[in-house]
C-alpha cells in the first residue's frame, strides 16, 4: 500500500491521498466482482453435458439398401443413397437455417425458404450457403453399415460396398 502510494507520488509529482487510493481500490474491487459474476453466470448457463444422440450409429446391412435407394433415416437426420455398389450418407438438415429437406429422386428441397440441392447435395437454388454435408460411411465387422456424423467427408467421395 505504501509502496503504491510512493510510486504514484513519484509518477504524478503530486501526493496521492490515502482516500484516493482506497477509492480506486474499492472501485476496482467492485468492478472486478461484477465482471467475475457475469462470467460465472455465463459459465453456469453453458451446459457441460448434453443429452444428444450418439454421432456414430449403425444403419443396417448393405442388402437392406438395394441399388437406386434414396431414403431419409428420420431419427438420424441422414439420407442413405445407393447407386449401383456406391453408397453415401448425406445430411438432410438444410445448411441454410436447419429445416429438414425433402428427399426426392431429383435431389433435395427445403420447405422453409426454398433452398434446392441436386442428387449429390450441391446447391442448385435458394439461399443455402453450402452443400449438404456428406458423412463417413463404413462397414462394421458385424456386416452392418455405420455412419459417423462426427466426420464430414468431401462431397462425391462414395463408399463402395
Amino acid at each position: 500500500m505504501s509502496d503504491k502510494h510512493n510510486a504514484q507520488e513519484v509518477e504524478s509529482g503530486e501526493p496521492v491521498s490515502r482516500r484516493k487510493v482506497l477509492a480506486w481500490l474499492t472501485s476496482m474491487g467492485l468492478f472486478g466482482s461484477a465482471i467475475v459474476s457475469i462470467v460465472s453466470n455465463l459459465v453456469f448457463i453453458k451446459p457441460r453435458a448434453t443429452y444428444g444422440k450418439p454421432t456414430r450409429f449403425a444403419i443396417g446391412t448393405p442388402e437392406q439398401f438395394p441399388p437406386g435407394t434414396r431414403i431419409a433415416l428420420g431419427d438420424q437426420k441422414v439420407a442413405v443413397i445407393r447407386e449401383g455398389d456406391k453408397m453415401a450418407a448425406i445430411s438432410v438438415v438444410c445448411t441454410h437455417l436447419g429445416c429438414i429437406v425433402g428427399v426426392a429422386d431429383t435431389g433435395f428441397a427445403c420447405p422453409c425458404h426454398g433452398s434446392r440441392f441436386d442428387q449429390d447435395g450441391n446447391v442448385t437454388g435458394g439461399p443455402a450457403p453450402k452443400p449438404l454435408p456428406w458423412y463417413e460411411l463404413s462397414l462394421a465387422p458385424n456386416g452392418e453399415l455405420e455412419v459417423d456424423k462426427g466426420k464430414e467427408i468431401e462431397s462425391g467421395k462414395w463408399f463402395t460396398v
Binding site: P47, L97, C99, P111, H113, R116, G126
Partner: protein, 439 residues
C-alpha cells in the same frame, strides 16, 4: 395535561373507538377523500402510490387524443393483460416435451376458460407487438425523440426488441409444429452472427438442436427473465417521461390562453414561504412546486395545464377499457391456432413464422447472414442512434412537421419496406417458399 385528557377520552369512548374503526382503517389506507378542490386533487396525486407516477398537473396538449392515440398506454395495458393471463396459464402448463402439447389440449378440454385465456394471451401478444411498433412510429413522426428525450427513445427501441424476444420465446411453449420450426429457424439465424453466433445459439438452446433443454430455457426466459427486465425498463421509461418534461409538445403550446393569477387561490392553504429567494419574494410554492424539474410552476409562469386527477386518469381509463374490450372481443371470436404436435422430421410446408417475423423470414430467404443478422443489426443500430444523428430542434410535438420532411420520409420508407416484406411473406409465399399469387 392535554396528554392525560386525551388518554382519558380514549378510555371513556371505547365505543367510539369501535364505531369509528372502519373509518379509521379507511382513512389510514386512503389518505384523502375523493377530491373536490384543486388542493385535494394535488394531494390525491401526491399521496397515492398508484397515482404518484403521474404529474399533479398535465399539459393540455398531452391530452389531445390524436396526438398520442394512447399507443404507449395501450402497450402497457397489453403487457399487464399478458402478465395476468400468463400467470394463470402457468398454473396448467408444464415445460416438458412430452407434456406441453397435451397441456395445450387440456386447456381446450378440461380447464375452465382455458381456450379463452390462451386466446387472450396470444392475441394480446400480437397486439402488443403492433402497439409498440405503432407507438414508435408516433414518437418518430411527431419528432418526440429529440433533446431531452433521446435516451428514452433508446430505451423504447430496447423495449421493442424485448417485446419481440418475449413473443419469440413464447412461441416455443405449445410445442406444436409452428413452435418447433419457428424456433429451429430463429435460433439458426442467431448462429449466423459473427464470432459469438454459434456460442449464442448453444447457450440459447442448451443443446445442439431444439429439444427439452431449449423448451426449459425458453420457458424460464419467457416467464421470469424477460418480464422482469421489461418491467424494470418500463419503469425507467415512464420515469424518464416525467423527468424529460412530460410528453413532447410544440413550442406554441405554452401560449397563455387564459391568464393565470399569480398564485392560484385554491392552492394557497398548502403553500410555504421561500423568503431567501428575493426575486421570487412574492412567490409561494404549491405542493407541486416543491418538486424540482420541468413541472415546477411558480406563480406567473404561463400555464396551460390541467389537473391529472381526473383529466389524465379519465383518458387513461378510456384507453384501458378500449384495450381490454378489444382483446376480449377478438379472443371471443378467434381461437389461437394450435398446429399438430412436433414432428422433428417434417417441417410444415410452407413453414411460416408469426406475421411479425415474416418480413425477417422473407429477408433470410435471400441471404441468411444479411437478411437475418446484418440488415436487422444495422437497422437497430441506426434506430438507436436516430436522436443523436437528427439533432435539429424544429418540428417537435407536431405530426409530420414540415421542418422534418427528410427524417419523416426516410422513416416512412423504412416502415413501408418492412410492411411490404411482411405482406410478401404472408400472402405471396407458398410451398417451398415459392412465389405464389394470392388472387
Amino acid at each position: 395535561m392535554v396528554y392525560g385528557m386525551s388518554k382519558n377520552n380514549q378510555k371513556n369512548n371505547f365505543l367510539n373507538t369501535v364505531t369509528e374503526m372502519p373509518k379509521a382503517i379507511w382513512d389510514s389506507v386512503f389518505r384523502n377523500n375523493l377530491p373536490h378542490t384543486d388542493l385535494g386533487r394535488s394531494k390525491t396525486s401526491f399521496t397515492n402510490f398508484f397515482l404518484h407516477m403521474h404529474p399533479v398537473k398535465v399539459h393540455k396538449h398531452t391530452l389531445k387524443p390524436w396526438f398520442t392515440m394512447g399507443l404507449g398506454l395501450m402497450s402497457l395495458f397489453l403487457f399487464m393483460i399478458l402478465s395476468v393471463t400468463g400467470v394463470l396459464l402457468m398454473f396448467y402448463y408444464v415445460p416438458s416435451t412430452t407434456q406441453a402439447y397435451d397441456r395445450m389440449l387440456d386447456l381446450r378440454g378440461s380447464v375452465a376458460f382455458g381456450v379463452f385465456l390462451r386466446n387472450m394471451h396470444r392475441w394480446s401478444a400480437h397486439g402488443m407487438v403492433a402497439a409498440v411498433f405503432l407507438h414508435m412510429c408516433r414518437v418518430f413522426f411527431t419528432g418526440s425523440y429529440k433533446k431531452p428525450r433521446e435516451f428514452n427513445w433508446v430505451l423504447g427501441v430496447g423495449l421493442f426488441l424485448l417485446t419481440l424476444f418475449s413473443s419469440f420465446t413464447g412461441y416455443l411453449l405449445p410445442w406444436d409444429q409452428l413452435a418447433f420450426w419457428a424456433i429451429t429457424v430463429g435460433t439458426a439465424i442467431a448462429g449466423y452472427a459473427p464470432v459469438v453466433g454459434e456460442q449464442m445459439r448453444f447457450l440459447l438452446l442448451g443443446d445442439t438442436a431444439v429439444g427439452q433443454e431449449a423448451l426449459l430455457r425458453f420457458y424460464v426466459l419467457h416467464v421470469a427473465v424477460l418480464p422482469l427486465v421489461m418491467t424494470g425498463m418500463v419503469a425507467i421509461h415512464f420515469w424518464r417521461i416525467r423527468k424529460d418534461g412530460g410528453l413532447s409538445r410544440p413550442d406554441d403550446a405554452d401560449i397563455v390562453i387564459t391568464p393565470m393569477p399569480a398564485v392560484a387561490a385554491n392552492v394557497m392553504p398548502a403553500t410555504i414561504e421561500q423568503p431567501q429567494l428575493n426575486f421570487l419574494s412574492k412567490a409561494r410554492y404549491g405542493i407541486q412546486g416543491l418538486v424540482r424539474g420541468p413541472f415546477t410552476k411558480v406563480g406567473n409562469v404561463p400555464d396551460n395545464t390541467v389537473f391529472s386527477y381526473p383529466n389524465l386518469l379519465l383518458a387513461e381509463l378510456f384507453v384501458f377499457v378500449l384495450t381490454v374490450a378489444g382483446v376480449v372481443l377478438v379472443s371471443a371470436y378467434f381461437n389461437a391456432p394450435l398446429e399438430e404436435p412436433v414432428n422433428v422430421l417434417h417441417p410444415p410446408n410452407p413453414a411460416k413464422a408469426p406475421w411479425y417475423f415474416l418480413g425477417l423470414q422473407e429477408q433470410v430467404s435471400y441471404s441468411a447472414f444479411w437478411g437475418g443478422v446484418g440488415i436487422p443489426a444495422i437497422e437497430v443500430i441506426i434506430l438507436m442512434l436516430v436522436p443523436y444523428i437528427d439533432r435539429g430542434k424544429k418540428g417537435v410535438g407536431k405530426w409530420f412537421a414540415k421542418e422534418r420532411l427528410l427524417a419523416n420520409t426516410l422513416f416512412l420508407i423504412f416502415v413501408v419496406v418492412n410492411i411490404l416484406l411482411i405482406i410478401i411473406g404472408t400472402f405471396f409465399r407458398g410451398q417451398n417458399w415459392e412465389f405464389v399469387s394470392p388472387f
